[in-house]
Amino acid sequence: MTLEVQNLTRRFGRMLALDGASLDAGAGEVVALLGPSGCGKTTTLRIVAGFETADSGSVWLGGRDLSRLPPHGRDIGLVFQDYALFPHMTVADNIAYGLRRRGRDAAARAARVDAMLDLVRLSGLGARRPAQLSGGQQQRVAVARALAIEPQLLLLDEPLSNLDAKLRGALQAELRGILTRIGTTTLIVTHDQEEAMALADRIAIMSQGRVLQLGTAREVYERPACRFVAEFLGSALWLEGRVEPGGFVTARGTALACAPPSRIASRHGLLVRPEALRIGAAPEGWNALSAQVTGARYRGAVTLLDLLVDGAAPASIELERGTSPPPPGATLALAAAPADCILVPEDAGG
């Protein structure tokens, strides 16, 4: 079932929570809505689920306009951040709840509950109460409950944020497996980019009520649509300056070679991912930059070197194992291949 969200706006008092947000998901696709808190991603999810109403804009699911449907008529499975399991019902009753509301008979319900428990690997725990389960198990019950109704769309609100870091990794893989097996169109709301990249086919980056870019993890990381996307994902070295024929000149006057901009914009900056920076003199055809060391942070597996590049732009690069960090104040030569230097518009387009 395809999901199309078009131009949603929503104002809460003085705050504009959504300012023309649009996104789409193809049948069976998993899309993550990623952004900092307050960017409007939860409001978008609640509008799709029917718990909020948009001031303008529309939500279409499989060619059907959802705007006039109440939440219980939308056939959308929703997994809440706090799971929202019914504490007074058993796990099986929780999973069967939606089927009961749909008037399925007892035998059909029992069969479906068993299938769902199998899917989330909780067979045999149907008689337990939610309070008797671990956080990770509760999370999977919430997923099973949402999927039991065979929804046309699955919504996951920060699905793994309530779990501790170790469990999160294991459950990420498990959840991805479940999503692949069921093949339901899914929208995941998250502020965690690793979660978004691990679970989603495409990622929608949101900020200030708008979707700035919608693309695969590779696209949004390597070809960000604007400065916000570039700096929100991973770490970034952002150089200010102006586009010149054949390259870019920083505010300090350093000329750098790079590909021409992919989009016309009033202002561009130059993005270099720190992992593309090499310490040392630039080989033939590479861009040379100078940097000042501001500090070093030992992180066990890696040591991070904090730099001020080209006199103004902060960046952190990983030191090779066994190298001792240069003292603060030292000047370093850095090199970057032109292919790793990307012109990115300062502001999001139209």
Binding site: T53, S67, R68, P70
Partner: protein, 283 residues
């Protein structure tokens, strides 16, 4: 398209009920209080007058209100004074059984018939009762008519104390025990902890318990009716007499309006004042 929220539908029966059974009657009460009284007739006269209110400014009537507040303030004070240790013991006593018994006593009194309790007070503290000698310590002989005042005060105290104590149980439960442990770890003795940590933090709760007790006293009708023996007349009894004994509806209504204003002033006005004096207080 916005649907009417389900919550509004759910609130509607209650709101309609309140509007019909409180809003309407109170408006009628105010209108009634503005009518002139025709002696010897239940039917009020024509026209609008403030006479029923100005009448209440006479010293004889002001005395009733003054008495009402005197009883209220003394009883509310005693209620907090004894209710607070009771509540603290019910929350922080080391014995789980004692905690439970104290809570059971408080909840039990809350649900037990006040009439039965007042009768029991008459039995125990009345001139024939075993506690009469204790009552005599107030300086008023149990056989003198003025002893009714002592009994009314005792009745009001019995009425308010469980409520005050249960409110304070809520207050003390909300105090994080960590703070008391922290104070103790810094070398404070138990009594120091209570004085320097518990009481300041519980102050807003103590104030609101006092105000609720005061409001309960000035609105109470049954205690002076049963224990007052016609000698102690508080504002509520005055209002009832106006209506029942002399059929003066407009004057009764005026007293009712004044009491309404006083009760709300105590509960909302004074607590707003206390909120200003005690910053951070949630009353």
């Amino acid at each position: 398209m916005r649907r009417i929220p389900v919550a509004l539908w759910l609130a509607a029966p209650g709101l309609l009920l309140l509007l019909a059974l409180m809003g309407g009657p109170v408006v009628l009460l105010v209108l009634e209080s503005l009518k002139p009284f025709v002696p010897g007739s239940i039917r009020p006269g024509e026209g609008v007058t403030l006479g029923n209110y100005t009448e209440l400014l006479a010293p004889a009537y002001l005395f009733y209100f003054q008495e009402t507040f005197r009883f209220g303030i003394i009883v509310a004070g005693l209620s907090v004074l004894f209710g607070a240790p009771l509540a603290f013991a019910a929350v922080r006593s080391r014995s789980a059984l004692l905690r439970k018994l104290l809570l059971a006593l408080l909840v039990g009194l809350l649900v037990m018939s006040l009439i039965a309790r007042l009768y029991a007070i008459e039995m125990a503290w009345g001139s024939l009762g075993p506690l009469a000698p204790l009552g005599a310590l107030t300086g008023i002989a149990p056989r003198s008519p003025r002893y009714a005042e002592v009994q009314v005060a005792i009745g009001l105290l019995h009425f308010t104390m469980p409520v005050v104590a249960l409110m304070l149980v809520g207050t003390f439960r909300a105090l994080p025990p960590r703070l008391e442990e922290a104070a103790a770890s810094l070398g404070a003795r138990r009594s120091d902890v209570v004085v320097s940590v518990v009481l300041p933090l519980a102050a807003p709760g103590l104030v609101s318990a006092f105000l609720v007790a005061l409001a309960m006293c000035i609105s109470n009708f049954v205690v002076p009716l049963i224990l007052g023996r016609g000698i102690v007349t508080l504002a509520t009894s005055l209002m009832y007499t106006r209506f029942a004994d002399i059929g003066n509806y407009p004057s009764g209504a005026a007293i009712g309006v004044v009491m309404l204003v006083l009760a709300f002033a105590v509960v909302y006005g004074l607590s707003a004042l206390a909120r200003r004096v005690l910053p951070g207080a949630r009353l």
